[in-house]
Amino acid sequence: MLEARNLRKEFGELRATDDVSLKFGTTSGEMVFIVGPNGAGKTTLINLLTGLLEPDQGSVVVHEETGDGTTVEREITDVDPERRVNEGLVRSFQIVHVFEEMTVRENVRVAVLSRYDKLLNVRSRDDQHDEVEATVDDLLAQFRLEDSQHEVAETLPHGDRKLLDVAMSFGLDPEYLLLDEPTSGVATREKEYVIETIVEASEARGVTTVTIEHDMDLVKSYADRLVVLVEGRVFREGDPTLLDTDDELRRVLLGVTE
């Protein structure tokens, strides 16, 4: 379980994250969606959890199950982002971040090499690790990128770039996957396909996902739990049906006045 404890982050006068306490992965493989109006502090929260930003206050904690059924908690607030990946904490960005000059396969391979801790290896070629290649094959199949695996990333259509971005994240064998608008910029008819692929991959691996999403239909269809942020604070937390039943929430979120 990944826990945010009283996280606070200020940018000058603006309190982007204000005393946020949340738990993710209370049940294994949970799908949490974070929603909220622009400027609600959704991305800042992910940045705090993954270490791109340091909180002014509060802490980030992972709870690990030990063999005998108890859990131990470990604070990772001061751990570097690259080391949080080893803790199973993986993220994507709102803008696609892939290695543009590498092929699709090479992109996924770098991530998988990192996961198997083989990056410092200089005695062999990068494509000669059977274990790594097998994992890469699995991922390419799962994300339906086999046909374009030898194409250079920058030449891919936008939807495939988004999928590649997520496939790389899965290549790191995440326990918690934090996705910042995985469907942004994707054509409406492809959004469902992208989310569906992510859901399949997460369920197959028991990954807890925390996804920022603006499309409420997608949220309703796929969320196990909903977190609503408004002005840096947790406004609502609970079942996605809140989106239909909670009038105040609808007003804040959708501007619906009935």
Binding site: H97, F99, L113, L119, L120, R125, D126
Partner: protein
């Protein structure tokens, strides 16, 4: 090359596997080029004279080129532009000179080892401070370190100021493999020892850039943020690659000192030399492994050959650089495939030559029109 295994088919292309270098696959064309390259290197002391070139200059060109190969690890893979690599070349050269002049160490290989150690440590030291920076900050910081080292050496009696130090113990050449040699023997033994080591270093660099580590460096160069978030310790890896790239410069500088037998600050440590090493990589083609080596040979030869023929010898070199950047941004080796393909097309279809001519004509016409318009505006104030 008797250990070549049978040809293998891969993705419709004929590939030769060389077991000596596990994982090294070359097409037939590349194998031939590599063999020719090695033969030329081995025959250089004899071939150079035949075609009227100076072997010593070519040798020095290879050394600077090797430094550029090292620099290229940063330039091509982590995409960082270092303006301070002369520090390691000069550092290596001065390690040799100081040990010979002040401590009377006379064995050349020992001196060379010292050069590699000193230059690499220097790179590790500087790299530690610059690894967290990118772009212009990285370039300026490396430049600043280089300038500080140059100024220190230039102004210090220990390094004998601008006159530099002789790499001689008691007036004799250093020994090589524990033996004293005639002048010619010394040059030949040094050359062939260097070539063997240089080939090994090129192979190692080839292995490095195709290894998972090399791929991690590519990742850092292409998207630093993402690299961090797939778990690459970016700054540590940049530091490693900076140090390795300095090692190549240090080795090259050490051999340079042994070849010249005299080390001065300006040809080895000056910041302009750093710029030249960078230029070599771009001239030869920084997208290739051996491009910088070829760039090094060409540039050093051009610089040394024009130095005494006319005063403004840097000007034509600058013009060549401009031409490369405009017309061949991938450098000589990097543009070779395109040039060859273009030539082949024109051989099979001479009609294209007419097109080329027409496009040149229209280019000239356009520039002339632009020039006259500009003049008209400047002189008459109207179009």
């Amino acid at each position: 090359m008797s250990r070549l295994s049978p040809l293998e088919q891969r993705e419709g292309e004929t590939v030769v596997r060389v077991p000596l270098t596990r994982g090294l696959t070359l097409t037939i064309g590349q194998t031939v080029l590599a063999l020719v390259g090695v033969l030329v290197l081995l025959g250089l002391p004899f071939l150079a004279g035949l075609v009227g070139l100076s072997w010593g200059r070519l040798f020095r060109g290879l050394l600077f080129g090797l430094a550029a190969v090292g620099l290229n690890l940063l330039l091509r893979h982590t995409e960082l532009v270092s303006f301070g690599h002369a520090a390691f070349f000069g550092g290596g050269a001065y390690a040799v000179a100081v040990l010979a002049a002040h401590l009377e160490v006379s064995e050349g290989l020992l001196l060379l080892l010292a050069a590699v150690i000193v230059g690499t440590l220097l790179a590790a030291f500087i790299g530690y401070f610059v690894a967290g920076y990118v772009d212009i900050y990285f370039a300026l910081l490396t430049l600043a370190f280089n300038a500080v080292i140059f100024a220190t050496v230039f102004r210090s009696g220990f390094f004998n100021y601008n006159d530099g130090l002789a790499v001689r113990v008691g007036g004799d050449n250093p020994t090589l493999f524990g033996l004293g040699w005639t002048d010619l023997g010394y040059d030949l033994v040094l050359y062939y020892t260097t070539i063997v080591l240089m080939l090994v270093m090129l192979l190692l660099m080839w292995r490095l850039i195709h290894s998972p580590f090399g791929r991690a460096l590519d990742a850092i160069g292409q998207d630093r943020t993402r690299a961090r978030f797939i778990g690459i310790p970016v700054e540590r890896y940049v530091w490693y690659s900076f140090t390795i790239s300095g090692l190549y410069g240090a080795f090259a500088g050490g051999v340079y000192a042994l070849q010249r037998l005299h080390v001065q600050p300006e040809p080895t440590l000056y910041v302009f030399v750093s710029g030249e090493i960078l230029f070599m990589a771009i001239l030869g083609g920084f997208t290739t492994l051996v491009g910088p080596l070829i760039g090094g040979v060409l540039l050093v030869y051009l610089l040394e050959a024009t130095r005494f023929t006319f005063n403004y010898y840097h000007a034509p070199i600058g013009i060549i650089l401009l031409a490369i950047v405009f017309f061949m941004p991938n450098g000589i080796m990097g543009s070779l495939p395109d040039i060859l393909a273009g030539l082949r097309r024109r051989l099979s279809d001479p009609g294209r030559l007419g097109e080329d001519l027409r496009s040149i004509q229209s280019m000239v016409r356009r520039s002339l029109t632009r020039a006259t318009t500009t003049v008209r505006i400047l002189v008459f104030g109207v179009k």
